[in-house]
Amino acid sequence: MINKIKDIKLTSGLILRLLVGLIVVIYLGWRIFQTAFSEGTYGTDTWMRFLIAGLVIGGMYALIAIGYTLVYGILFMINFAHGEVMMLGTFAGYFILEAFATIPMPTEADPELMFLNARPVIALVITFIVGAGVSALMGYLLEKIAYRPLRGAPRLIPLISAIGASIFLQNAAQLLFGPQRRQYINPDFLWRGTGWMIPIGDKSVMITYTGMFSFVLSILLMIGLFILVKRTKLGKSMRAVAENKQAAALMGVDVDSVISKTFVISGILAGSAGVMWGIHNGLFNHYVGFIPGIKAFTAAVLGGIGNIPGAMAGGMLLGLLESLGPALLGLDFQLKDVIAFTILILVLIFRPSGLLGEALTEEKV
């Protein structure tokens, strides 16, 4: 009897998946066919612009997504306040850059010169260190205050706590810094709206300095993280804790300290992404972390949560989907979030463990 019911359930699920799949395939095929053969197709230069915009934003999503994945891999919880950790990094970077822009460093050629443009590289390095540092500290405190006391509680409890922390941080930032929009002050050589012009056909496509800077930096940070997880002792203990907390503890790994360090690392990545966000996009206020946070979580699930390469691939893929998707399907650009979240739902239907799979198998949970 029980077997029979099980059988029926399986088949109905299968039929549902098949139906959804069929509808999606027919729709996608129809839209892409339409875009490709209608007169409204875009030129090569326009496709290049979509691609570049997607890669830059994808790099930032990837950095934030790694934070979700690292924490999930170890604690099996979604740190919904991660976007706010990034927001604080953006604010810290802004205040540092603003301070540098008012420290005079006059030279003979230019008596008006400020530290920001006199030593732009040092200024940027310090900005990133402070931005990442503030976010790392925030990540550490968040875990200490909001999650550690709930370590043994059912899984939904820390989730609620995370959402509460997110709302708290957002409102605290609004009270502290005001609700107005601010704009990053970049050093002159990284000015927004300037870049290399790449000729394509008879047109030229601009690769902005800020975009290139953000993209390269996010790739470097990801490589750094990969080395940290695969090659260092800390990385080894993180992997051990992710695999089995009790066994790791028995082997002499200090589980609490590894968890704290994981939050610090994800804070560093989020803070860097926050400063990049400011440098590349300019305008921000206390809501800056909210949407990127949600998107990065989507990216993490897309790639397979708990899986670091998955988060990187998911972030990049989501960035590209957002900028290329509406154009490919010939839809309104306002619908880019609809496309992104539809893809998420489809992935959950067909591959619940994400594109690259979860790093952990179900028995371990």
Partner: protein, 432 residues
């Protein structure tokens, strides 16, 4: 299996969360628009037409007038009423506009010994408040005209009341297009509507700037999309081509993709209906999207110091509309007098300071054209005053004020500004 269910749950939570994503940036730079509350029952009182109290013989002009005369004995002031949000969230509009009108009344020498006085009452910006203030105004026999009301909803509720009493209105700020479509004889306005603005923008783009291919973009809001739609329709009517029409999601940080799609259609100019916050982001990504030589043409929501401050060199050459009049000797003198009187820069509280000053001027001119003195008493024939306001031909700070047959009095339309060396300069002063 548990894990999968958990994921689905989380994803539902995420979707729900993102649905209620905070409107990142809200701004009230644009014309005053507010909730259009339906007023079901507007209490209209029959106003005693014979305001002459002691039964003395009225002058013939008053007996002939449909609404009789306002009788103002010696020693009293000629009162101009106003219904404005003076308290609460929108008080900056009411305070600013009442101060602008007060300036006009103060700077006038008066009429044959009678001086003017503004009677401003709080409407809270609501329709109910507007009706209540209107009913109060019509019971005061020395109130001859109304400067206002300020918000469209409160104005809408007040019009029928003033219509019955024969009190002419001149609103410096109610922009809802429908207000003048209801056949009211008393309602006039100095504010230009969104439709006027769109028309003026399309005309400027096609006829003066000589563009034939433009793109229209908007932020999906009532105000922004409304403007973009008007511009699109008008521009096509003039014979131009709208090659792209694209919406953006307000409050985002990256518009390269929609801008690139617009750029691909090859427009010569891009009209944008929306607020400065998004226009700034767009302007900073202009070159990235391949729009280097393309003009950004904004609306009065785009105009403002924030735009020039935050776009810097990228914003150079952009055009936007505004109801702030261009600098003239009179405007400079007014700004100085306003600062001295109220300790505030003109335009600091709202952009309506100058049009409210003109409102006062228009009403004074109309009153003086019909009022007369007999036996030491001032008579203002109400019906004649209603016609006089409608027939206004007045040059003020905001330009020519001349009403058409339905009471749209902003004959000069919006002023267009262009960013030159990081500052907004009136378009006609830009030499090229």
């Amino acid at each position: 299996m548990k894990v999968k269910h958990f994921f689905v749950l989380i994803c539902v939570v995420v979707l729900a969360l993102s649905a209620c994503a905070p409107e990142q940036i809200t701004e009230t730079a644009a014309p005053v628009e507010e909730e259009t509350e339906e007023v079901t029952d507007v209490v209209t009182e029959e106003v005693t037409e014979e305001s002459s109290s002691e039964g003395e013989a009225m002058p013939q002009a008053c007996l002939d007038d449909a609404f009789g005369c306002a009788v103002i004995p010696e020693g009293e002031t000629i009162k101009i009423g106003m219904g404005a949000p003076l308290l609460g969230d929108y008080s900056m509009f009411g305070i600013d506009i009442s101060q602008g009108v007060t300036m006009a009344l103060m700077m006038d020498d008066g009429f044959e010994g009678w001086t003017y006085e503004l009677v401003a009452e709080d409407t809270g910006g609501t329709a109910e408040g507007g009706a209540a203030v209107a009913n109060k105004m019509v019971t005061d026999p020395t109130v001859v005209a109304i400067a206002g009301h300020i918000f469209s909803g409160s104005t809408d509720a007040a019009i029928p009341v003033y219509d019955k009493a024969g009190l002419p209105m001149m609103s410096p700020s109610a922009t809802n297009p429908d207000l003048t479509q209801k056949g009211s004889a008393v309602f006039n306005r100095l504010a230009f509507t969104d439709a006027d603005q769109g028309k003026a923008a399309a005309d400027l783009l096609f006829n003066q700037l000589g563009f034939t291919k433009i793109a229209a973009m908007h932020d999906g809001g009532t105000y922004g999309q409304g403007l973009a739609d008007v511009v699109k329709a008008e521009f096509e009517e003039l014979g131009g081509e709208v090659v792209a029409y694209e919406a953006i999601t307000p409050g985002e940080a990256d518009y390269v993709a929609p801008l690139s799609a617009v750029a691909d259609a090859g427009p010569e100019a891009v009209y944008f209906g929306g607020y400065a916050a998004d226009a700034i982001v767009m302007m900073n990504q202009w070159a990235q999207a391949g729009l280097n030589d393309v003009l950004l043409f904004g609306c009065d929501g785009t105009y403002g110091v924030e735009f020039t401050e935050k776009t810097g060199a990228n914003g150079e050459g952009a055009i936007a509309a505004s109801l702030v009049p261009p600098d003239s000797d009179e405007k400079v003198a007014f700004d100085a007098a306003y600062l001295e009187e109220f300790g505030l820069e003109a335009g600091e509280l709202s952009a309506f300071t100058w049009s409210s000053f003109d409102t006062g001027g228009v009403l004074i001119a109309a009153i003086e054209s019909v009022a007369f003195v007999e036996d030491g008493t001032l008579f203002v024939p109400r019906g004649a005053l209603v016609d006089a306001v409608r027939n206004t031909d007045f040059v003020g700070l905001t330009g020519l004020v001349k009403c058409d047959e339905i009471g749209e009095c902003n004959a000069s339309g919006p002023t267009f500004y262009k960013v030159v060396d990081g500052a907004w300069v009136p378009l006609e002063l830009v030499s090229e």
